[in-house]
Symmetry: none
Subunit: 202 residues, 4 copies
């Protein structure tokens, strides 16, 4: 039996902590999400948290990135698997608030976003993450331009930004009031937007 723990153990504990962190934030808000509360949610002592993360800030950042990256990964999968005009829509489906879990994710990202305002370092990090989404959309749009599905005159990056903006906006509103955006409304909105994009000549 080896003395030291596997790398995996360490990482999976960090993920477990991140999940507890998110649960607490959703329940109590970011302001009241103290380390003690998260430890209680985990069923462990605060010392554990500080053992796996040097500071609380690092813990929050890790948690946010984990949420973000999980969604990004699935969106990348959708990009890889999709074909034809449906591809973009399939990608957005992984980022939009369509069920309880994705609404929770939107809320979390909104909460973290608010924290980043006025904190240049965090804002830069957030912006870098956002770019991953945008570039992925841009890449697919470039693909679609090659097949003529999307007009070659459009700027893939800008169109990517536009799609992400619409996603973020819906996410933000659904975060405040999930009942204002039914899954059908969400899908219809995105679908119509993408349709118009693929029809657009300029």
């Amino acid at each position: 039996m080896p003395r030291g723990r596997r790398k995996g153990d360490h990482d999976s504990k960090r993920e477990e902590i991140a999940d507890a962190t998110c649960k607490v934030i959703l329940r109590s808000g970011i302001e009241k999400s103290g380390i003690a509360e998260i430890a209680r949610e985990m069923g462990c002592s605060t010392g554990v948290l500080m053992h796996y993360f040097k500071t609380k800030a690092e813990m929050l950042l890790y948690s946010k990135n984990l949420m973000f990256d999980r969604a990004h990964e699935r969106m990348k999968q959708a990009a890889a698997n999709g074909h034809g005009p449906e591809r973009l829509l399939a990608m957005t489906r992984e980022l939009l608030p369509l069920d309880a879990a994705s609404i929770a994710r939107c809320r979390l990202l909104t909460a973290f976003m608010g924290l980043a305002i006025g904190n240049p370092a965090l804002m830069k990090l957030q912006d870098k993450r956002d770019l991953l989404h945008i570039k992925q959309f841009a890449a697919v749009i470039t693909d679609l331009q090659a097949t003529g599905t999307v007009s070659a005159k459009l700027d893939p990056m800008l169109e990517g930004r536009r799609i992400c903006a619409l996603i973020d906006g819906i996410a933000s509103q659904a975060a405040t009031n999930p009942r204002s955006w039914s899954p059908a409304d969400v899908e219809a909105t995105m679908s119509r937007y993408l349709q118009s994009l693929m029809t657009s000549a300029a």
Copy 2:
């Protein structure tokens, strides 16, 4: 010589405090926007702030509402003054991040939004405010449907929500990285979206 102070004095002081609050939030982030820091920004003692607001939470809420309402007022003006297809675009211009001041406002609203997550009372209040924007757009869309500029088959409220979502999304991205959205990009995005709306048949 009047004994008591004028009502106006009291209210204008509250606005002055709200402006200082916003300045501090933009500079230091919401977490570090303590009452002491805001007092320093105002050039007064912390006691003053508590004299004009019972709690810090009330102060923040007032500040946010003030920012929101100022923009809403201008947007309503644009709705009243505008004519024809340009009307919707003119309205969005008052809410989009097009210059330093409006970018600051977007940042503030993003910061406050994050605070509301996990706080049902705040979320409800925020949602009520958001509805003001949406209803205003819906009203104008209804007008445009009467003149045939917009298809009568569209649901004004849903279309209002969609416009607001796009605005919020752009605002959110510009909050993180203003350079990613030039004023021209912003306008073009909004313009094209509204164009497609007015062309839309379903």
Copy 3:
């Protein structure tokens, strides 16, 4: 019309403030009896209070003494008017908790008493006031010894202290729970005690 106010105006305002102070203490407890609350009760500004009293401590002391002295005055009257064995009982009646007003007074004195603990200056002042009661009882006892109603062997001051102790004890208990001491119980207790005193040989 003379410029300055009468001494009486000044004093009667101080009494008015003292009464408001007592009302607030009874309602909110001594800890929460701030100057602002008292001003509100008076229907005036805090400035007025500081005009008539240099400090809050002075205001509290004045209020307590006023309550105390009013009762003492009536007790002295009872001493002057009473005759024979009834005299002592009549005196105690002015100090005991027998109705709403006197229960309120007992509560106030209890509250002030608690404040004096750990404050040598206040304790000395309070002790001096208490002596007034005791000496009055002692004087009457001396009278009663002259007529043979009370044994000459008893120490008038000590007996005075004992009577006051019993009064204070009943007052203290009635302050906490007025229902535990019906007026009849109070009177019977005091009456029996004084009876035994007048019968006592040593």
Copy 4:
């Protein structure tokens, strides 16, 4: 090696804090007994106090109850051990101000009492504790009635209240000025009162 601390450690720390609290109150008065001062007395940081007590109010209540209960326990012992007519006197001795320690306790209870005025919740709690004393006296009086030492016509609870009232009154006066009540005076007073009680026919 046990992971968690023993229950005893936690409770004994609470008692240690309570003792420090009392020392500070006696020295500085209740108003000036801040958490910082108590921490200084303990030789620890303020955080420790909040670790063992959720609020300052809880800390004060615990301290008062501890003082009260310690005396009550000894009084109950005296009730259990005593025989015949001496029993009641032995019980009162545990509650009366007869030496430095008991005078300190009387002062503390006086200080806490003052705090309770105007605070219904605290008053109710205090009244419940007082009843413990009274019931204990009543129980012993009932015993003595069975042996004919005390007249069966007397109401045990009322007589218990009367004894407690006298004790409280003496305690209250000794709190203000300990020199006014020598131990001999205290004992003689109580002794004579109890004597008269046991002689009483009605």
